[in-house]
Symmetry: C2
Subunit: 294 residues, 2 copies
DNA sequence: CAAATAGTGTCTATAAGACAGTATTTG
DNA sequence: CAAATACTGTCTTATAGACACTATTTG
């Protein structure tokens, strides 16, 4: 039975959550977007190593940069028929990465790109309502949140800032995110991405892994941005600040302050780096999912 | 590449956590204990179905009984060399079962038995100190916790109450829990069991799955016993009681009361059944692991 | 009846959230 | 200087844990 690894690599670009996708060149789902992945080299590498290898191949990261990426196993998927060609079990991995250089095509010349999660058709499993913007200004949102399949299409490969804060042509100015042409994914990858997002949302509650989305030094405001982007809801700035600093081992001060203050004024924020805690205690609980799962 | 499923099935017997193991008849690790499992029927069943099938085969459970068993995917293990014969990826599952009839040999005539978790050599990854019993005396070491491999040995298969509160022959009366002949497991199964225990300890914090270890109707005291056995530490009876009843959807009253009171006196406890919550909110946090993972 | 035990009441410490206030920076 | 904004102070409410107490049952 064939065994592959697939990686759900998440990063934040311009305040919006993005996932690394590749465009399929070959047969099933040709032209559709899929998770980066490939066959495990049986007997020659561990599953973890295979996932790291695939991730490196698609992102062009070297070993040093890879160290700053968090990579963990997400789960395995093996429903009969998930690949029309043959029975395949895939072991999915979840990666949290700081803002990386643009993706590059994998070794096999396929196109690779960071695509906003909000642009994907996850079969209704989005859960996190799109962030009602905190401040008047958009904190999260995604000017760039909706690349259309055709735009990202075949052959384009790497195209500079396709997901950068440049309005992608539609922008009806209104925010009503009319379910507008969501990108479908190949195979069962929509379910895998949805599971990855669920995991990510839960994981940053009780681990300091939100810091893995940021550079080595960061401000509390940036950290709050990570939570808001992943949870999709605004957090109370003051309370968040105090909470982060009060959890032992979450962050430690560098003593320095950011180069400049807020975009339109305000003091310069202090800089922190990740602390030595592996678990947050007490945890940062998500704002009421109102007893969600009952 | 070969793909198997292995099941870490947990249950409570006489107040101690037990895991279902089979004795290996065939070559690698012959005579050693291993997790029940087997090859996935490629293209003909899902991973979940394969795990359920393997569990049913070893326990002799019919579909009705299986419904009361919680089964979830734990993770996949594929280090090269984990099976000396060939490269094998195994997808591990975790099961929580109420006290079941004795295990029976699998279809392949191997012996199967419920073995106390405390008797296993998990490579130091036990974490949960054995419950210091609430009273002054000893701290570690439950009476029944140490069946010796030879006793459970080959061919014996089902032997009634091997883990019942009958001192297993050694009992030097002293508590010094000399690392006394812990059972080794085949392959990397010790690591898998340890991961399963970690998952179980975490899962009962924020889900009502502790009820999966009990009969359909149970008392709060029994439920507390589940937590104490899995976490390995005593809980405050009064506070636990109030907490369980205050979490919405955790348990619901049946109106009835238990047939009799405590062993040595006391009122008859009220009976409850599992409620409709999928998540506990607020969660039942483990007593201080004192910032454990820092 | 004495001891054990299910269940409840109360008090304190901690934590979360709402809200307001201060000082610092940008344009 | 006005507006924005990083950060801190304070108050209220929810929760966790320690402890004490009542009522019911067993031997």
């Amino acid at each position: 039975m064939a065994v592959t690894v697939d990686v759900v690599a998440l990063t934040l670009r311009a305040g919006a959550l993005h996932v690394l996708l590749v465009e399929r060149g070959g047969h099933p789902f040709q032209g559709a977007w899929a998770l980066p992945g490939g066959f495990v080299q049986a007997g020659r590498e561990s599953l973890d190593a295979a996932a790291a290898r695939e991730l490196a191949e698609e992102t062009g990261l070297d070993a040093t940069q890879l160290e700053r990426v968090h990579l963990e196993q997400l789960g395995s998927y093996g429903d009969p028929g998930r690949d029309p060609r043959m029975p395949v079990v895939t072991v999915a991995y979840l990666a949290f990465a700081p803002d990386l250089p643009e993706a590059r095509g994998g070794g096999d010349a396929s196109a690779a790109a960071w695509v906003p999660v909000a642009a994907l058709d996850l079969g209704g499993r989005t859960e996190a309502r799109e962030p009602e913007r905190v401040t008047p200004r958009t904190s999260v949102e995604p000017d760039a949140a909706r690349p259309r399949p055709s735009e990202q299409g075949p052959g384009r490969g790497i195209d500079g800032g396709d997901s950068a804060p440049r309005p992608v042509g539609d922008a009806t100015a209104e925010d009503g995110p009319g379910p507008q042409a969501l990108l479908p994914l190949a195979f069962d990858h929509a379910a895998i991405v949805a599971d990855g997002l669920d995991r990510a949302r839960a994981k940053i509650e009780y681990t300091p892994l939100a810091t893995a989305f940021l550079a080595e030094e960061f401000t509390v405001v940036e950290l709050r941005g990570v939570y808001e982007s992943i949870w999709g809801s605004p957090l109370h700035a003051g309370n968040f600040h105090r909470k982060v600093l009060s959890v032992p081992g979450f962050v430690e001060s560098t003593g320095a302050t950011a180069a400049r203050g807020g975009a339109r004024g305000g003091p310069r924020a202090r800089l922190y780096r990740a602390g030595d805690a592996r678990l947050l205690h007490p945890a940062l609980l998500r704002p009421d999912r109102e007893e969600s799962v009952r």
